[in-house]
Symmetry: C2
Amino acid sequence: MPTYTAPVDDMQFVLHDLLQIDQYSNISGFDEATPDVTLAILKEGAKLSQELLQPLNQSGDREGCHWNDGVVATPKGFKEAYRTYIANGWGGLTGNPDYGGQGLPYVLGLAMAEMAGSANLSFSLYPGLTHGVVEGIAVHGTEEQQRRYLPKMISGEWSGTMNLTEPHCGTDLGLLRTKAEPQADGSYRITGTKIFISAGEHDLTENIIHLVLARIPGGPPGVKGISLFIVPKVLVTADGRLGERNTVFCGSIEDKMGIHGNATCVLNYDAAVGYLIGEQHQGLKAMFSLMNPARLMVGVQGLSMAEIAYQNAVIYARERLQGRSLSGPKAPDQPADPIIVHPDIRRMLMTARAFIEGARALAYWAGVQVDLAAKHPDESLRQEAKDLLALLTPIIKAYFTDKGFELTNLALQCYGGHGYIREWGMEQFVRDARIAQIYEGTNGIQALDLVGRKLPAHGGRAVQLLFSVIGQYCQEHHDNADLESFIKPLERAFEHLQRATSWLRQHAVRTPEQGAAGSMDYLHLMGLVVLGYQWAQMARIAQEKLAGGTGNQAFWKNKLITARFFMERILPDTAAHLTRIQAGAATLMALDAEAF
Amino acid sequence: MPTYTAPVDDMQFVLHDLLQIDQYSNISGFDEATPDVTLAILKEGAKLSQELLQPLNQSGDREGCHWNDGVVATPKGFKEAYRTYIANGWGGLTGNPDYGGQGLPYVLGLAMAEMAGSANLSFSLYPGLTHGVVEGIAVHGTEEQQRRYLPKMISGEWSGTMNLTEPHCGTDLGLLRTKAEPQADGSYRITGTKIFISAGEHDLTENIIHLVLARIPGGPPGVKGISLFIVPKVLVTADGRLGERNTVFCGSIEDKMGIHGNATCVLNYDAAVGYLIGEQHQGLKAMFSLMNPARLMVGVQGLSMAEIAYQNAVIYARERLQGRSLSGPKAPDQPADPIIVHPDIRRMLMTARAFIEGARALAYWAGVQVDLAAKHPDESLRQEAKDLLALLTPIIKAYFTDKGFELTNLALQCYGGHGYIREWGMEQFVRDARIAQIYEGTNGIQALDLVGRKLPAHGGRAVQLLFSVIGQYCQEHHDNADLESFIKPLERAFEHLQRATSWLRQHAVRTPEQGAAGSMDYLHLMGLVVLGYQWAQMARIAQEKLAGGTGNQAFWKNKLITARFFMERILPDTAAHLTRIQAGAATLMALDAEAF
């Protein structure tokens, strides 16, 4: 049976040594997030994840969810765990204090999401989706809508879902058919079928608040005629009590590769009562504004899955005795050495470790931008945070989840044949991690979003900002001989990224296919560089701490070794990405569709 | 439901245009393998795979195998399909005519294995493993043993298994504990537990011939005291009839990530009657000689899985309407264009295609070496074939299965959310493909075999041969302007391989950890270069055929485009592999085992 130990030390390092969130103590939320407080919260979150959520992960996979005439039951133990989760206030950790939330920084919620995702991805989706819907209602809903729905959603008594996909329409929402007929009382009647709705129906909460994209008849065709609606499973009276059951029902749940503990639902809307949120025909814009935080969360799932799989690969690699070290026996009193002595096992473990720690730094950096974008007193800094966040979101979503899948697989590989056997739990991590490359917009869509929208937006303002941040860091430390083995590789990789960006600027504006052809490579190239930037900073801090002799010296030493590994073995992939981008679209598009 | 269309045209191209197997018509087996004959055989194999095996693939995954008190039932339809398979003579296609085989070239068996693997990997393992055991008995068994076992195994009436792994001992066979007590009549009594035995027990054949590694008491410790035994499930009388049931029983079958249609068994040997095969204490060497063909077959499974997943991704990409082409609508009469118009979908399909066709060429080239090694009249050419085969085997096993897994995943990704849903069948390909990276020696072990054994063997004779073949090809076509865009990238990649080889020669001999640290990168680097060599040849042939105006012009045009894609987008990865190899072992081994 797999186990999980939340990486609280590393989380504290990122929050306080790397990001130095204490510098934002003039911003509400951060004022309370002192090292002592974050440590206490992370430790409580660790306890919950380790002791309550993780033990339900494998049984949840085995049992799956149960559908019976429209009613969905979650696996044994999920209901009780969810009750504890909300009773302990995790639902409202970062929520608006006006509606009962604790108002702590978003980045702490991200850390909690990382832990919950590692411990039990399927479970974590139930409260995770609610956060997105809360955000959507908070930004686009009327005050009356906020008062009616937010308190019970922030407390976790009600959950939320996002409804975009229909059988014939996923990425291309212009094809959407679900209809919303206006009623005399200002409400709408929603009719249509939505599919792939995560947590669309379940037994954890007494109500579920669906956000649904639909068309108001007579509106413009395509994506310009889509509006967003609140459709509660159970209607809510003006004074906030539960009223009639609405006519939205779960037609079936999907039989999937993984995340069996989460109900992926077909939802049938049969003239269900819905309430417009935001402006008519502006639904897509509203939905995107809440998809972006959701995409950041999905990116973190890649990190979560890599972490749990890595931890269990390490445990096995220390215990499994097989063969002898090439540099002489390491456990001469045993019949063989533990396989962690073998370089190729190390390669797999170090590859995972170098991603995980770099990704945590990058994700939490992005997490801080969420708060700065919303709350920083300086408007220009709010704008910078927004720009950075917009740019980093597709990278974190797609790069992290690609890596998350790759690394759960490397962790499985460390187990040899046992990795393929269900009882060891490693193959579940692979199956669960796989979904994150798909949902909230496939990774290919993230790459198009990056190259087609985020890069050119506002004349390239966001990418210029990012480049100036990285460029300045390189310049500042260029002559530091101690940092040479970190700054030089970063500079080389950064140069590849700049050349790729110039190439796209020259070619993709005129011929969008040239940009799309290299979009996935560009996303991975940028992912490598921003991770490299995190590692260069972490290496500098580790060196300073080692020189100063302060703190946990082993921690700093290991951080430095892992930074070196990243520079030597991971970052050099940038060159091949550049080559592929520069190859352009010609050969890619040359084959006739019939010739495949 | 997925479908399968065997790539018979491409197989014929590889056999006759690329490999020109007609040149070996002075060698038995090849004399019969004219284009007409191979086409007829491939078409029959295609029919069987498409119409009989493939329709049982998804149902076999759903149902799995059934264990009941030591008796194992295969999924519905497998028994009938197997009966047809052997009735049509597929078991004996390449078998020794002295024992009832048809004596056709090994490479034709490989092509049939590719088709069966694409259609139904789980099913294909039952006859597939038998081939390995037949080979083992043919090479190491006495004439009496051959007469007793081979006819019924070649006909497929009996099947075979290989028994190496024990609960505490996988890669490190020196730890093996199963005992073989000598008996007065010259036989042995085998006692112990073997795990992960593919097709270890089933209802397809009336007998199963197990090849079992065990220790004769008093022998040397470690791998030098291991012997190989024939242990029939049902004892066979001197005149070849079935006698008493032997005391080997299936204790359980594993619940696995995939290949549910194949029974992976725990086999308990309880003083079972066994017969020594080959010399006492020479069992490991014998087992390896039959593992090498098995590894080639497993490599082909990577190709098989990539092919079937690719085919179904293409079908979906042509049918699924979503979004518009960036260069203007391609299906203006439809609500959206088929997603095959999108560059990132193309990237995934072309990446798969470029691997598949290159891999088929490489695998069949290796397959021809099997026959040349055994039957070529010129001893020095037999030796060359053996050397090439020994070198290529770990590459084909590991590189192909790593790619097979990666590409089934890319194919799944083309389906978006539907790829994650079981009914579409794509996720089964991913789960099934995953095993091939593990069994018959994990891919990490293949890399060590390549760097630690195959490279230095006989003073590097094999690698020198390979390099002279590729070097000569490059030289010969260096000044051919028409081929420049194929030869130049190959030369650059080949140079990376040569530099990596020199680096290993300088560092790994003294410090084996330096070799092991780069072994997986070296294997992939060599995989890329040998695939690039195949593509450069195929590009040349395609150009000649296009210039000559002969044959199917569309086929040659598409071949050339795919070759170009390989050179532009796949081969450039060699540089990063070289960088990682040259990074050496220092950072990789720097972390204390406790620090992970």
